[in-house]
């Protein structure tokens, strides 16, 4: 493995630790919106993880996966916050 790839892999470890810290907010809450925000962080962070993995594992197809994840994180956010016709 090249030095660059190894450095990016180290970056991946840091990023995962960061996401774990961010997810602590999902556990603490207190409001439901705090937890959603934490999921949103996991969405963006997940895209970053996939991009790093794409390079480190030499699998460019993972960039496509990152693209799909970015699109679907938006769908999830909409699903989390929408109201039905007869909701208050």
């Amino acid at each position: 493995m090249s030095t660059t790839s190894a450095a990016l892999l180290a970056g991946l470890v840091v990023l995962l630790l960061t996401l774990a810290i961010g997810l602590a907010r999902a556990v603490i809450g207190p409001s439901l919106q705090d937890r959603m925000l934490s999921v949103q962080l996991l969405g963006t962070g997940g895209v970053a993880v996939l991009l790093l993995l794409a390079h480190v594992m030499a699998t460019p197809a993972l960039i496509d996966v990152a693209l799909v994840l970015a699109l679907l994180a938006a769908v999830a956010a909409a699903a989390l916050t929408r109201r039905e016709v007869d909701d208050v």
Partner: protein, 324 residues
């Protein structure tokens, strides 16, 4: 050497996060929290599939685990009404006993796993598949398995999906619709839905030689339908009921027609003649994509859309007055 350890830390972190999120989703007292954790779990699972060199699964999981299942559970949560907010976990001696049994079961399964993995290098289908792939008409091995080597299984899979959606259609009218979108969401839908449809088309085409295929493309199209419904389009962008019926059965129909045509030409059922496999697979996959997308979209709608028969009863409104 350094890289090996970094990979091990990465794997441990991902595994711990998965267990933590799974635990949180299963053990939260409040159902709302559980569902939010479940969505996060789906996102994480997509990353784990990518790490385990399963980009085909990562694509499907991103669309279904993070998007569709979450949206489904969230809309079911609304029906739950006032029970949300109550402690949803049973406690007491039986729960404690169950936890103990669970630990025992986990230990037993772990022992079996380690024992099995340690025996010897198992016979791998991978080599068999790699040897045959040049005859399959595609170069993505997962697509080759799904549409050629194990095409029977995929045909039956589509039948299972159809059975599930028929069950949903038989159970009652569609769930209530969402409010009309405000300017922000409307703007989001305006660019997100076309992009989702475009990506679905790309994944369908790419499936022959790269990660992608009918299941991923169908899930992406269904996500577009979910997004439309969330934005206040009750029909989720689906065509009218006659066309819906046609689309629901399109996958099975394409499979069956190709199979019968091949038998008439003197081949076995779904044994593609040399040189034709690529075209036939793309044909079946296109039909399957439409069928899977329609199935999942109707599953999300959760009942008969307008035009399928008896319309919504009035019980739902009573339900809501209590809650508010």
């Amino acid at each position: 050497m350094m890289a090996t350890q970094l990979w091990q830390i990465t794997d441990l972190l991902l595994a711990l996060l998965a267990l933590g999120l799974g635990w949180a989703a299963v053990s939260s007292r409040d159902l709302k929290r559980s569902v939010v954790f479940f969505i996060a779990f789906g996102l994480l699972l997509a990353i784990i599939w990518a790490r385990l060199r399963a980009p085909d699964l990562a694509l499907a999981e991103a669309a279904i685990g993070a998007g569709l299942s979450g949206a489904l559970l969230l809309s079911a949560l609304r029906d739950e009404g006032e029970t949300a907010g109550v402690d949803d976990i049973q406690r007491g001696p039986i729960a404690a006993l169950l936890s103990l049994l669970s630990i025992g079961l986990a230990a037993a399964l772990a022992w079996v796993l380690v024992y099995t993995l340690g025996i010897a290098d198992p016979v791998r289908m991978a080599d068999e598949i790699a040897a045959q792939i040049s005859n399959s008409g595609v170069t993505n091995p997962v697509t080759a398995v799904l549409l050629n080597f194990r095409a029977y299984d995929t045909l039956l899979e589509l039948a299972v999906l159809l059975a599930a959606v028929l069950g949903i259609l038989a159970l009652g009218p569609a769930r209530p619709a969402y409010r009309a979108a405000g300017p922000l969401l409307d703007g989001l839908i305006r660019w997100l839905v076309p992009l989702l449809v475009l990506t679905a088309g790309y994944l369908l085409w790419a499936g022959a030689h790269a990660p992608g295929g009918a299941f991923q493309a169908g899930a992406m199209l269904a996500a577009a339908a979910v997004m439309l419904r969330l934005g206040g389009h009750p029909g989720a962008g689906l065509p009218g009921p006659p066309l819906q019926r046609l689309l629901l059965t399109a996958g099975i129909a394409a499979f069956a027609l190709v199979g019968i045509a091949l038998m008439a030409a003197g081949h076995a059922l779904l044994q593609y003649p040399a040189g034709w496999s690529g075209v036939l697979i793309l044909l079946i996959e296109t039909a399957a994509t439409l069928a899977i997308a329609t199935t999942l979209a109707m599953a999300y709608i959760g009942g008969r859309p307008v035009g399928w028969g008896p319309e919504a009863p009035t019980t739902k409104t009573v339900h809501n007055e209590e809650r508010n």
